[in-house]
């Protein structure tokens, strides 16, 4: 059992690390549709991680959460985003506030920061997922950073979704998942938020002929 939980812990860490890797890929990626694909991939890794934790701990409700993640984040949301991109006809994210290498460096720094912050907490835990906590925090920070660094509304939305993935991983890592009812609520929130943001992006395009959120400054009084 000890051996299993040790190797299980290693497996969970591996999957979490893959999640983090996709984050870096998103930061480095300039093409919008590729960003969405990468998000779908990241969500797929999240499904695997969650299912793994469910299997190793025997928490049945995590299977449901994993299945929902699969349906909503791997299939529905990427499709919605793809449709938005098609309609907007913007393929490339040309303007970024931070160049790609600088962005990657900052993300590296953020990962270090996340590990530094969670250092005192991790030894206190006894869950087999405890080491994923730092990774989850890093993903949250990188998601937030993506939202700041990119100008196009679509990538900001992707940043938001990445952030949410990080939160979900964190919840799984810290407590073996939230109660099912909470998770269901969160899923629907994210789905609705994405739909609303999609519509809002379309409106932005209609109003300014661009999905550059910088245009919103003209709304200032």
């Amino acid at each position: 059992m000890q051996v299993l939980s040790y190797s299980g812990s290693q497996l969970v860490d591996l999957c979490s690390a893959l999640l983090l890797l996709t984050c870096f890929a998103i930061v480095a990626q300039r093409r919008l549709s590729a960003c969405v694909d990468l998000f779908a991939l990241q969500s797929a890794f999240l499904v695997v991680t969650t299912a793994l934790v469910a299997y190793l701990t025997g928490n049945q409700h995590l299977y449901v959460a994993a299945a929902l993640t699969g349906v909503i984040k791997v299939i529905i949301i990427p499709r919605v985003l793809k449709k938005v991109i098609d309609r907007l006809n913007v393929k490339r994210e040309l303007v970024m506030y931070v160049t790609v290498p600088a962005g990657l460096l900052i993300c590296g720094g953020l990962v270090m920061l996340a590990f530094f912050i969670s250092q005192p907490i991790i030894p206190l835990g006894f869950l087999l997922t405890r080491d994923s906590l730092a990774i989850a925090l890093a993903i949250v920070l990188i998601g937030l950073f993506t939202m700041i660094a990119r100008q196009k509304a679509v990538t900001q939305l992707v940043g938001f979704l990445v952030l949410e993935n990080g939160l979900f991983l964190g919840a799984t890592a810290a407590t073996y998942g939230m109660p099912l009812i909470v998770e269901l609520g969160v899923f629907f929130d994210v789905l609705i938020a994405t739909l609303i943001a999609g519509i809002y992006t379309n409106r932005l395009q209609d109003a300014f002929d661009s999905v550059d959120t910088n245009q919103l400054t003209v709304l200032k009084e």
């Binding site: 506030y97 920061l113 530094f116 912050i117 250092q119 005192p120 920070l141 937030l144 950073f145 939202m147 700041i148 100008q151 900001q156 959120t213 910088n214 919103l216 400054t217 003209v218 709304l219 200032k220």
Partner: protein
């Protein structure tokens, strides 16, 4: 008795929901809101009387999942008294509403008004019944919000929206102070239960108690409309539908009086330094005087009544303030008398102010105007409304044999009894307050001489007034009920005083029923028969006898009661409304006398015919009085906050990225701090 409570709350809930479930016909909807309200308020009246007479308390509680919050209810005599007051006024208003809401058919949703009306009454009831700080605040906020929605019923008018916004801001500022007061009490108690507030584990230090006193005074004072926190009142009360104005002015502001007594005498145990009482007394005197003075200058009937609420809250506070002063010197009997006077005026004001607002509503219903300059001669067209309004006007002017007289007389007595106080300063101050109260009474009389005389007597000044018709029966019943209470409470205070004594006794620690009611209850004698006494039944009999005597003398010796037709003084011209004394003219001397307070500006523009300067083509006269508090207190405050907001707008760049960066940086800093 718990059953009654369920009937009460259940009917309100039915009244809130039912209007939305029934067909959209105004009659059906007003019935579906009015009938549950009548049932609920009747249950409230019975429950209030039971609570006042029974020896034990009714308590009930419902746990909640939120920490520190419990839906606890307790009907002790104080709560029962206010429950009775709310329910009596609510009963009259809900009967009145059956007829009145037709006025709104087509302009506003009758079902929404009915539902909000029930909700408003229910929240006020819960405010006085709540026995948990959290629960109290929830009910308090509900009361504020529901009344806000009622104020903005006619939201298509700009001034109504302004009034609503003003009210909303003021009431929330007040609530903020109340929350601070409760948090201070929470510090000592460690719980939000009122029971633990009463008997805290560790008593608060003196400084904290003072802070709690001030916070409660400002917070509840905003709702009560104490000067200078009264500014919202003359905007908000007139804007609401009249039966709501009656409740807001007659009852809602009383919940603040309830809360003040609850905090000072119950939670803080009636132990306080003399200057607390003096502060309340001072504010009461200021409110009473300024309230009536501004009312006098007002020609919008509902605004006039709203200013009178400021005055009457002042009178109530004079009683309570005197009680507090006496309490801090250990003069328990006098303290009980002061409180009793304040509470008596509370129920009296609820009755006559509700009556007057309903009367104003009837005039509005019949004529569609609020300015009394456009009334005139209405007594002939609307005799019942006129009589009821007169009863209200007599009561509010504190004339016997109505209720306002009795309670103001009691307030006077408790102020005069200050000679028993040990310090010269207070010995002097209380009689000065009594003098101010006397001045207030005179001005109130002048004001209602104006309001009644200009509105109901002489000739109609406008087409609307000329074609006014008496209002429908439910409205008359509602007003008649209140008018009857005004007379009963005035002629038979011996019925009310024992009940009030049961409210006051636990707060002041002494029962004064035996002393106040002399001669087997036929006379009132404030604590000491030798000092002064008053028998209201005898007084009423005397007044009636005098009136009969006058009439008799006139019949016997006058001999000229036959109707004679004769040329008037008007030089053979027919009388027209243009010859009448106007409200503006009526108050002109008073305006001159008190011009220091009013700071009036009068402007007369005359356009002459260019052929001759002896003939004016057009004259335009306007005058307005300076709103001192708004100009010198509120405007600078608003200007200050606007400047502050302008400065802070620098960080509002409008850039989404910048805002996200703020969040990001804050998050990282906090995380680093946590490590």
């Amino acid at each position: 008795m718990l059953n009654l409570l369920w009937i009460l709350l259940g009917s309100y809930v039915v009244g809130i929901l039912l209007p939305f479930c029934l067909p959209r016909r105004a009659e059906v909807q007003s019935l579906s809101a009015g009938v549950p309200a009548v049932v609920a308020t009747s249950a409230g009246v019975v429950l209030g009387l039971l609570g006042l007479t029974s020896s034990g308390f009714i308590t009930g509680s419902l746990a909640s999942t939120i920490p520190l919050l419990a839906f606890t209810i307790r009907i002790d005599p104080l709560a029962a008294f206010f429950l009775l007051t709310i329910s009596l006024a609510g009963l009259a208003a809900s009967i009145y509403a059956l007829g009145y809401v037709r006025h709104f058919d087509g302009r506003a949703s009758v079902s929404t008004i009915g539902s909000l009306f029930n909700g408003f009454l229910c929240s006020m009831t819960l405010v006085v019944l709540a026995d948990n700080g959290f629960f109290f605040l929830i009910a308090w906020e509900l009361m504020s919000l529901l009344s806000y929605f009622l104020v903005v019923t006619e939201h298509e008018k700009t001034e109504v929206r302004y009034a609503g916004l003003f009210y909303l801001i003021m009431t929330h500022v007040g609530t903020a102070f109340i929350i601070v007061a409760f948090l201070i009490l929470f510090q000592g108690a460690g719980s939000f239960s009122f029971e633990i507030f009463r008997h805290p584990n560790q008593s608060l230090p003196e400084g904290m108690r003072t802070l709690a006193f001030l916070m409660a005074l400002i917070g509840f004072g905003t709702k009560a409309g104490i000067v200078p926190l009264h500014v919202w009142l003359p905007y908000a009360h007139p804007a609401a539908p009249s039966h709501i104005s009656a409740l807001m002015s007659g009852v809602m502001i009383k919940t603040a009086i309830y809360a003040l007594i609850r905090v000072y005498f119950d939670f803080l145990g009636g132990q306080f330094p003399w200057w607390w009482g003096f502060t309340v007394l001072f504010l009461g005197a200021t409110s009473a005087l300024l309230g009536v003075m501004y009312a006098l200058m007002e020609h919008d009937l509902k605004r006039l009544l709203a200013f009178h609420s400021v005055e009457n809250i002042g009178i109530i506070l004079l009683g309570i303030g005197a009680g507090m002063v006496f309490q801090s010197y250990g003069l328990k009997e006098l303290a009980a008398l002061g409180l009793l006077a304040g509470l008596y005026h509370t129920i009296n004001h609820a009755m006559f102010k509700a009556l007057l607002f309903l009367g104003a509503g009837s005039l509005l219903y019949a004529t569609h105007v609020r300015n009394i300059e456009e009334y005139g001669g209405l007594l002939r067209r609307m005799p019942w409304t006129g009589v009821f309004f007169l009863v209200g006007a007599v009561s509010i002017s504190a004339l016997p044999p109505t209720n306002g007289f009795v309670s103001e007389w009691l307030v006077f007595q408790s102020l005069f009894l200050s000679y028993q106080l040990p310090t010269a300063f207070l010995k002097l101050m209380l009689p000065i307050a009594a003098a101010i109260l006397a001045l207030t009474g005179v001005l109130a009389l002048a004001c209602f001489a104006k309001a009644f005389g200009i509105s109901f007597l002489a000739l109609a000044r406008s087409t609307q007034a000329r074609h006014a018709e008496e209002v429908p029966a439910p409205m008359l019943v509602g007003m008649g009920l209140l008018a009857a209470f005004c007379v009963v409470l005035g002629v038979a205070p011996m019925v009310m005083l024992p009940l009030l004594d049961r409210v006051v006794a636990p707060l002041a620690g002494i029962s004064i029923e035996g002393k106040v009611l002399a001669m087997d209850g036929w006379a009132l004698a404030p604590v000491n028969v030798e000092f002064s006494s008053l028998s209201t039944p005898a007084l009423s009999l005397l007044l009636m006898a005098l009136a009969l005597l006058g009439w008799g003398l006139a019949v016997t010796f006058g001999g000229r009661l036959r109707k004679r037709r004769y040329k008037t003084w008007s030089c053979g011209i027919n009388l027209t409304p243009r010859m009448e004394y106007t409200a503006t003219g009526f108050v002109q001397p008073i305006k001159r006398v008190f011009s220091t307070v009013y700071q009036p500006t009068a402007k007369l523009e005359t356009e002459f015919l260019h052929e001759s300067r002896y003939f004016a083509k057009r004259r335009h006269f306007e005058f307005h009085i300076e709103p001192i508090f708004e100009k010198y207190l509120y405007d600078p405050l608003v200007a200050f906050f606007t400047t502050l907001a302008d400065r802070l707008r620098v960080i509002q760049a409008g850039s989404l990225h910048l805002y996200l960066t703020y969040i990001f940086v804050t998050l990282i800093l906090l995380l680093l701090l946590a490590v």
